[in-house]
Structures are given as C-alpha cells and as structure tokens.
Amino acid sequence: MRNDTPILVKKITALSLITILMVGFFWAFTEMPKGSSVNVNNRVSRLYILKNVKAATKSLNSGNFFAKGMKPLRSDVPYSPITFGKSANLEDGAANVVTSIVVDYRGFDTLGEVTVLFLAATGVAMLFFGKRKKNIIKAQASLIMSVGTRIAYAVILLFGIYIFVHGHLTPGGGFPGGAVIASGVLGLFLGNDHYESNHLGLKLFESLSGMAFVIIGLTGLFSVNSFLANFLPTGVIGDLYSAGFIALIYIAIGMKVGAELSAVVDSMIVDTEEEWS
C-alpha cells in the first residue's frame, strides 16, 4: 500500500481482511470444544493446581501416562487435599495458583517477559537519547495537585510494594506492583513542573534487580542442577515466608518493573535534543 493508493482500495482491503479473520474465528469457534465437554482433568493446569507435577512425572516415566490413543491420563494422578494454613512442604508453596504457574512451573517465560519489558524500555530510552531539556507538561499544577500527588505517592508506593511482596498469597505480583509504583512516579511528574527523577538510582535498581533474578535462576542451576529451580523450602501454604524463591523473584520483578516503567515515563515526558556527535 502506497500513500497515493485510493482510499476506497484501502478500505476494501481492510474490510476484506477483517471479514476473513471474522469468518475464520467463527469457524474456529464452532469447532471449539464446548465448556461442558472439555475434560479439565486432561490439562496440565490441573496438575499445577493440585501441586502434583512430580507424581505425574513418575507416572509418565513408568510409561502408562499416555495410553489409549494418546489421551493423557492426567486424571489418574492421585489427589491430596490442600488446606490453607496447614499443608506444609508442598512441591510449590504458593497460595495463589497463578503465581505458582507464572513464577515456578513456567518461570522461564516470566524471565523472558521481564526481558521483553527491559528491552522495550531500553529501546524507548535509546530513541529519546540526547541532551535533556525540560518537562513537556507545563500544566502549572495547582497547590492541591502538587501537594496531593506527593502525599498520594507515598501511599501508592506502599500499595505497589504490598502487591508484589504478597504476590504468592494474593492476586497480583511483580508486574502490576511495578506498574502501580510507576503510576505514582507519573503523578509526581504531573504535579510538579520541575520534578527530576534520580537517574542513577533508577538505573541501579533496574540492573541490580534484573541481575538478582538471573542469579536466583543460576543458583538453582548450580544447587539443584536446573535453571530457575526452586531451591528453598516451601513452608506452610498461606504464610508470608513460604513458597521458597517465588517471593524473592517477585520482589526482584516488582523493583525492576517499577524502575523500568518509571524510566520510560521519565524518558518520554522530558524533551530531548538529538545529538550525533
């Protein structure tokens, strides 16, 4: 598509693409298994929820896991009830199932996601590289706004920290916690015309917490012989000190995401002058 293509051609192309996608999705939805017919017991996620992957691995290694026309017999995995505040030394001690999947069973994906965010922040900062001028928002914030944002910042910061520290117990975790912190920093920028963030501090936070994540992973490799393996005791489910390395990783992620998104806001809100010398 060139710039001089007639607008009608563009619209027809767009419309036909949308139609193809919609027809395709409709077709796919008609063939999708209905809610009642899906056998949830066949899903890997059932084993995650039961925290019983190791038993399933044993059944897999003994060779009777995939039988009868390749249907996995995940429902055969023994079920043992998990009681909040009582069950101890489970294979994954996080009370929040999503966290146990995201950080423990599929922790490698999370490391990748953190890297994606890191690269996006790095790319944004590289595009706006140059001599820094001043804040582009000249809103002339009122007294209420500038005092209010400063008070709110403390509360928002505390709430963000709460979200990621309690990631293994309650909904939320490193990513939303960091985003909450960054929105507090955004408030500071909006409320104070001359606000300057501490660049060295942001950089240190970002790098050190990222390195902490990888070093936790490498500790797993050297102690349990598997990258990103949980090498700490998992404790009693529901305790703050439980779930092994999940809390540590979520603290690292929270600090990293908070510093990164703050740096993105910072590099976008400040005007720069290009220099290639």
Binding site: P176, A179, S183, L261
Partner: protein, 84 residues
C-alpha cells in the same frame, strides 16, 4: 444479577472500542482505549481472573493511557515546531 452487570460492561467495552476506532480526535481515541481496558479488566474480574484484572487495570487503563497522551503531546509539539 452479575450477568446483567457483565452485559452492561460488555456494552460499554464495545461502544468505547467503536469510539476509539472511529473518533476523529486522537485524544478521545486514547481516552476511549483507556476505558476499553478498564471495562476489560472488569470482565476479567467477573471471569474470576483477579490477577489479570489487576494487571490490566494498572497497565492498560493507567500507565499506557498516560504514555499515549504524553506521546501525542510530543508529536503535536514536533508538528508545531516544524510549522514555525
């Protein structure tokens, strides 16, 4: 009861999504997109996915809307400088 609230949220999401696509002003598109994220995060909550709902609300409705507005402001500033 909850199904009616959810249906209302779905209607809001679809309406704001259409506004975001067809609006002539970029600023209103961005605000409408923020509303879409907010509605979607509500839907995630109804679907019993509080983790996703929190993330969507914090990132989709909050931070990315703000970043879009800042980017729009930057683009407009660049345009007015070119005219000078």
């Amino acid at each position: 009861m909850i199904i009616y609230i959810a249906a209302l949220v779905v209607a809001v999401v679809i309406t704001t999504a259409l506004i975001a696509v067809f609006s002539k002003k970029l600023l209103s598109s961005i605000i409408a997109m923020g509303l879409v994220s907010l509605g979607v995060s509500g839907l995630f909550f109804f679907l019993q996915a509080p983790d996703v709902a929190i993330t969507e609300a914090a990132i989709g409705a909050g931070l990315s809307t703000a970043i879009f507005v800042i980017a729009l402001k930057k683009v407009k500033k660049g345009e007015s400088e070119d005219e000078e």
